[in-house]
């Protein structure tokens, strides 16, 4: 994921340096391998963020019991699965 973020920074660098680079990035991102790589990085980040938000919620005192934790985990998994699918559609 750390490497993925460096990849995203590379995209930001390209997209901001000039119009030509911006369009070049758009072309690159229309190729299947780039889309797959972007999708995998964004999926990892989505899952990590969803789990992290769940931890923040637990830090606030919700869902800290065994049952609450289990339920929270299921909700988090469902939410990250939905976001990943939507993001997948958006990337493809």
């Amino acid at each position: 994921m750390l490497a993925g973020i460096l990849g995203l920074a590379w995209m930001l660098d390209m997209s901001l340096s000039s119009k030509a680079e911006f369009i070049d990035l758009q072309d690159k991102l229309s190729s299947a391998p780039c889309k797959l790589a972007l999708f995998l990085v964004l999926s990892a980040l989505t899952y990590h963020t969803a789990a992290g938000v769940r931890h923040l919620i637990m830090d606030l005192g919700f869902g800290e019991t065994k049952e609450g934790g289990r339920l929270g985990a299921k909700i988090m998994l469902a939410v990250s699965a939905i976001i990943i699918v939507l993001m997948g559609v958006w990337v493809w």
Binding site: L2, I5, L6, A9, L12, D13, S15, L16, S17, S18, K19, F22, I23, L45, T49, G52, V53, L56, D59
Partner: protein, 122 residues
Amino acid sequence: MVTAVTSFGRSGLSDWLIQRFTAIVMTAYTIFIVAFLLSTPELTYEIWSALFSQLWVRVFTLLVILSIIAHGWIGLWGVLTDYVTTRMMGAKAVTLRVSVLFVYIVVALGFIVWGVEILWGL
């Protein structure tokens, strides 16, 4: 108890707090960028560079870069001290942990310099 020499903050509690603070900053930024992308279907270079020419967006992005580094360090430190232990692999665990963190710091410093260059287009 693991000697907290290589941890990020002054104490476990400050690490705990920094990790939460940076998590909120990064999540807010993610929502901001995703909302922006979803609300501008036909994204052009002009729109995108205009967004990043605003000072507050540049400062926010730089804050996120610093947050990524701090969050990453704390997370990596937690993973290393849990799994790369002398109990598991003897004395070389410390050498391995310290060298991994050293590589992380070097990459992190490079990332900050690069980030500033991206945003302020030096």
